[in-house]
């Protein structure tokens, strides 16, 4: 009973926070772009021929003649109705572009999020258990090196090794814009996914492994593990019984807090592998001043990051029995 009320309260609170955050984020991003010396209409028209009428429409909506506040209100009013405008470069409604692109990216991100989380957790547990040995040192060095590795460089190296040298994957992975999801076979799609996901996974391992290691070492030097040892528990059993139990929650929480970095990594990796996801769209929109699309992507990414943080919070407040108890007793 209590839990239900609490969860409802939690969700309500989160939604309010998300809304207030989005308003500020939209406003600030909008103003940043508006006051930028780059004129979106000219940047856009510079690329392709458009009819005079179309141009006039654009000028009215985005042009220099409309005051920024008015533009913002125009845009925000439409956005509230679910209309984020037409993407200038894809010539499709922003919502459609984002839907298609974000789905592709979600698959990529989910795959590497899971893989890096599991692998990182295991490596961290091993390193923490074997603290000070060569295994630990190897894992630690691996993580330090990975944390210092430029994402796009690793992507390039993998591309060179697996596509150019070994020839396992095609080099130009891109599918021309306009080819819809149905025209891509599952195999095509899967092949396109492997290298980007591998890159992101390899890089994602570092943080979670180092964190798990630290946390496990902390747990292993805790009083309760000391007592477990005093009672004759040892080795792997001890780690499985007390270590994993106490490290898993913080590690999962951390992994959810990593959505922001995951998104950043995706942007870079998609660029190198020409993976048709939201990151690539974001770069294109940024480089070619597709303001409506860029704003749409900013909003989606903010929601995405917020969602990760909210889940981390949720785990912290509802799954950990200690917190649960405290709250209930207040």
């Amino acid at each position: 009973m209590l839990d239900k009320d609490k969860i409802a309260g939690f969700i309500g609170n989160k939604i309010l926070r998300l809304l207030s955050l989005l308003i500020v984020v939209c406003f600030v991003s909008f103003m940043l772009i508006q006051y930028s010396p780059i004129d979106p209409v000219r940047a856009y028209i510079g690329e392709m021929p458009v009819s005079a009428e179309h141009k006039a429409n654009l000028e009215e909506y985005w042009g220099v003649n409309t005051p920024p506040q008015e533009k913002f209100l125009n845009w925000a009013g439409d956005a509230l109705k679910g209309n984020f405008g037409i993407s200038l470069i894809y010539r499709m409604p922003v919502t459609d572009v984002i839907k298609e692109r974000f789905t592709a990216s979600l698959v990529l991100m989910a795959a590497s999020w899971l893989f890096s989380g599991i692998l990182g957790f295991i490596l961290g547990i091993i390193a923490g258990m074997k603290k000070g040995t060569w295994i630990d040192k190897t894992i630690k060095i691996y993580c330090y090196v990975l944390a210092a590795t430029p994402t796009f460089w690793l992507a390039l190296i993998l591309l060179m090794v697996f596509s150019v040298y070994l020839g396992w994957f095609p080099i130009g992975l891109s599918v021309p814009i306009g080819v819809t999801a149905e025209n891509v076979t599952f195999l095509d799609w899967f092949l396109r996914l492997i290298l980007p996901a591998l890159t992101l996974s390899l890089l994602g391992v570092a943080q979670i492994a180092l964190f798990t290691r630290e946390k496990l070492i902390e747990v292993l030097s805790s009083d309760y593990v000391l007592f477990a040892k005093a009672r004759g528990e040892k080795g792997l059993d001890l780690v499985l019984r007390h270590g994993i139990r106490n490290v898993a929650l913080p590690a999962i929480t951390l992994q959810f807090l990593g959505f922001s970095e995951l998104f950043g990594g995706t942007v870079l990796v998609e660029q190198v592998f020409s993976y048709p996801g939201i990151g690539q769209a974001a770069v294109a929109a940024g480089l070619r001043s597709d303001v409506p699309l860029l704003l749409g992507i900013v909003i989606v990414s903010a929601c995405f990051v917020f969602f990760g943080n909210a889940i981390a919070d949720l785990i912290y407040q509802f799954v950990d029995p200690r917190i649960k108890q405290q709250e209930a007793s207040i």
Binding site: S221, D223, Y224, K229, Q325
Partner: protein
Amino acid sequence: MGYMENMGNMGNMENMENMGNMENKTKTTAKEKKKTEALLKVENISLSFIQYASGLRQTELKVISNLSIEAHSGEILAVVGSSGSGKSLLAHAILGILPSNAKLDGKMEYNGQQLTPEKKEEIRGKEIALVPQSTNYLDPLMRISNQVIGCVEEKNEGLMKKVQRDIFQKYDLKPDVDRMFPHELSGGMTRRVLVSTAVMSSAKLIIADEPTPGLDEKTLNETLSYFKDMANRGCAVILITHDIEAALKISDKIAVFYAGTVLEVANVEDFKNNGENLRHPYTRALWNALPQNKFQAIKGHQPMQDEVIDGCIFYERCSKKNELCSKGIPQLKSVNGGVVRCNNVS
């Protein structure tokens, strides 16, 4: 083992030659003990920590030095000392669960056998059990019954579960406690749960680290009685505490701990009147500091661990010191059925 029989018959007054007063009874049993071998012998151990101070300068911190004690089956040895004197570390040293930067020297024997690190690992939890100091020693995310049962093979789990339930029943822990998490227990319940872990183990040596703080009079007596029970069943009990009164209630011998070493091991009956039977000035001072006695606090404080002391460790605060005392650590002497580290005793 004749002793155990004796203890088993304690309730049966006819078998007792000497049933005059409590004091005499303890004396006889204690004397009897002298003859048997000690279950645990700790000889001249020292413990230090290697540490890094600010700027990564390496330092060595000595926390226990030249410490010797013995624990006998069926007997309670109280280790009394103020906070920070190294009592918990002594317990951890016996169990071999010191942190990795600790350095331990000296000799320990268990049941006539050398107590090496490997041996410690083998017998801890089975032969030697620890009753730890606080709730922190329970896994915060594991249900109580699982913790108390510990790590057992699957086929024994049902049996162990039953044993655990029985023990909890005896200690008045209701069935719903089984499924609780440590933070849901009250202080007294935590104590009983911690004691149950030792009972589960059927160990022969029980080391109880501060089992009494924060308990009301009734719970305190109850907790102490658990340990008395264990001793009566033939276990050797080391009761670590800074509450000298609690120690006197149930112990047979009292080891007085000061700044990482034992200054005196006295029999419980030595603590009476003005403490004239006590051997060491510090023990006497402790006795006289009790409210029901003279209620005189001792001046000064324990030396810090990084102070280097050549002579008697109590020198600064001693009222009987002489020149000899500042030169070299006093020898350990057997006096009148106890041991003491003081130049001024004969």
